[in-house]
Assembly symmetry: C4
Homo-oligomer: 234 residues x 4
Amino acid sequence: MTLDALRDSVCRANRALAATDLVVETFGNVSGFDRESGLVAIKPSGVPYDALTPADIVVLSVETGAVVAGSLRPSSDTPTHLALYRAFGCGGIVHTHSVWATTLAQARLPVRCMGTTHADYFRGDVPVTRPLRAEEVEDEYEANTGRVIVETFEVNGLSPEEVPAVLVANHGPFVWGPDPFAAIERARVLELLARMDLAGRLVAPDAPRPAPFLVDRHYFRKHGAGAYYGQPHR
Amino acid sequence: MTLDALRDSVCRANRALAATDLVVETFGNVSGFDRESGLVAIKPSGVPYDALTPADIVVLSVETGAVVAGSLRPSSDTPTHLALYRAFGCGGIVHTHSVWATTLAQARLPVRCMGTTHADYFRGDVPVTRPLRAEEVEDEYEANTGRVIVETFEVNGLSPEEVPAVLVANHGPFVWGPDPFAAIERARVLELLARMDLAGRLVAPDAPRPAPFLVDRHYFRKHGAGAYYGQPHR
Amino acid sequence: MTLDALRDSVCRANRALAATDLVVETFGNVSGFDRESGLVAIKPSGVPYDALTPADIVVLSVETGAVVAGSLRPSSDTPTHLALYRAFGCGGIVHTHSVWATTLAQARLPVRCMGTTHADYFRGDVPVTRPLRAEEVEDEYEANTGRVIVETFEVNGLSPEEVPAVLVANHGPFVWGPDPFAAIERARVLELLARMDLAGRLVAPDAPRPAPFLVDRHYFRKHGAGAYYGQPHR
Amino acid sequence: MTLDALRDSVCRANRALAATDLVVETFGNVSGFDRESGLVAIKPSGVPYDALTPADIVVLSVETGAVVAGSLRPSSDTPTHLALYRAFGCGGIVHTHSVWATTLAQARLPVRCMGTTHADYFRGDVPVTRPLRAEEVEDEYEANTGRVIVETFEVNGLSPEEVPAVLVANHGPFVWGPDPFAAIERARVLELLARMDLAGRLVAPDAPRPAPFLVDRHYFRKHGAGAYYGQPHR
């Protein structure tokens, strides 16, 4: 992908995110990663979404974090995005403070898999990280946020491909996918799932979970070699 | 009804559904059934609603499930729709993952009849199915979803005409009516009823139910020979 | 007021009501009363709001209920409206199935006065009626709904001018005012109050009430001879 | 700032407030303060937002409260605004009855700081005042509302710059900032925070708070000399 195409895609993705109800004020950002060139493109920090142009998008090296193109400061969350691109095989990352996912993050509760809507997108609970320690917050805070996300997947034996999202404790959701637009779609669905799980926790805290065979049936109906949802790729 | 008229009606109904707030992403579908010709028309699988044209609508035999017209894959939920058309006397079916009805489905709770808004459309609680068993999920999953819905009405002695909706456990609502548009109207009302019942369960879990004579008064004010709501048919 | 002016006003009021989020499907209606001529104008039953014209509005005698103008069936709730016009000194009535007021009506809970937003419009709790008895539902159901509303105010010593709304148990709100548009404004505020009271009951069921002197300060800041809110009448 | 510029800014701010979902009916108002001239500009009482022109905006002396320009009655809450301008170093104040902040005010609960969304704007809980006493309500009610707000910050040792908002018990939020538009932005964020805290109190009443070092990290990422969020001022 050319540098221009990457910036253009990330600019459009950030504006598409702002058109959802996931974004309040300037909270949130989208990045994209071109694995071939090793370049990450991301929203500049604190710039209103409706004023964004491709030239505002900041481009960095995934390895060194050095800015390659763009004159604005990148999102303050950039080191978190870089850590995830290094550890996970994804091409787009969305971070928001969307209301229901953030409420669960503040309650330090996972988004439980309670039905087929969830299983169509995520093969099991979307986890919540442990809180960061004082030294992790005081030095390299944003990079450590990324490290704690990666740790959460390792410690719990989770696949970042099958469960492409996380809640950072007392912060909010990070969601990823093969490209920025797929990440946005998943962030929208995660918000719906968080809203339903939160309401479900109130109305029926002890409701039984769906059986693993139902979760897998739905997950693999849409993902992998045996998928039969949607139209065959042409 | 001609094939063209059926496809056109189902196409318009799917686009009308997408204009409601019942649909998130590509979740949900509407089908229509022409009982005379034995043909069912349904949304293709995973196709965005705003791109739908009548030619995209897939037409199948209600008896064999064989595709009669259309080159796209039908909705993966098609076998559920066919099972309901075979068992119930309806002409339109809507399936969604609307937030409040789905939350109750995930909590495995019925939509309780708590007032006249409910009784105007449904003569009693909208039931929730039992969860499917492993073998029912592993083989002919979608057809078995339809069978379990029919079983729910038989076991509980419910009339699918008087209670034209169901929550599938850990999945979401299916709603039916004489035609696709009537089914959409009922799906919208069901979502309102689910929202109100869910909030009511939180604020007053032991609130008394409306008396059966009030439920019947409202149901029969709008349905059947003695109806006096609305204008006389001309 | 001329018959034409009354019908025109009630037609506009019904369309204004439909533009709020208080109305779902065809639930709800507005009426207006010209006390001088003794005529009540009301929405026809089950007619979509966006198709309403002044000629569709049905005009009846408040005393006999006889139709004076209009060829459509009046709202099935008409006898409730007539009962309220006979007993209370109001000129407009709104009935809706708005989600939060209806949820409290189904829970048989009043809208408690918990703050100044409430006290600016209603001097104290908005009450909920007792449920109707079998014989009251089976015969003259809608007229009896009106009688039970009036009874609620008499038994509890409430002023229908100071508390111009009620929740009918397991049904929904009726709201009144000097004219149809004032009644709509109050119905919108009531819905906000119901939403806030319902959430407040969940988060702090034992929260103390505002002191009566605060309620009266706000109520009389906007109502009566000592009012100093808004601009002086010119 | 000229008188015209102040009125124009406050007029635009009031219309901007009305375009948010914080305002219901005519509840709410925005004022602006030009510290150099000692003049406060504020919305007139009870006038619909969409009819507001700069000439309608009332201008008063912050010291005496005397009207300097404008022929309409100022907002009935004016004495509250004046008290805050005298005590706090702010240039804009917003008062609303927004649904979630008002619900917590009615429950007499603070908006707890539960995460980074909150800490980005407010360094700690947004407090709730004590209820006013009878004599404080009966005489100089609105001025006393301001005095109780100031008392709340003094008694609790809070900085009105670091925590630029308050909930008035059984009433609603007041929010301030360097100018009217900054106050509106904070009022929007406060409403989001109130919504999330209220839901969090229901789903996880005992959830641990974010560590003070996380709160400070986020607060000082956006505020003060060491801020690195957003773009450098040019």
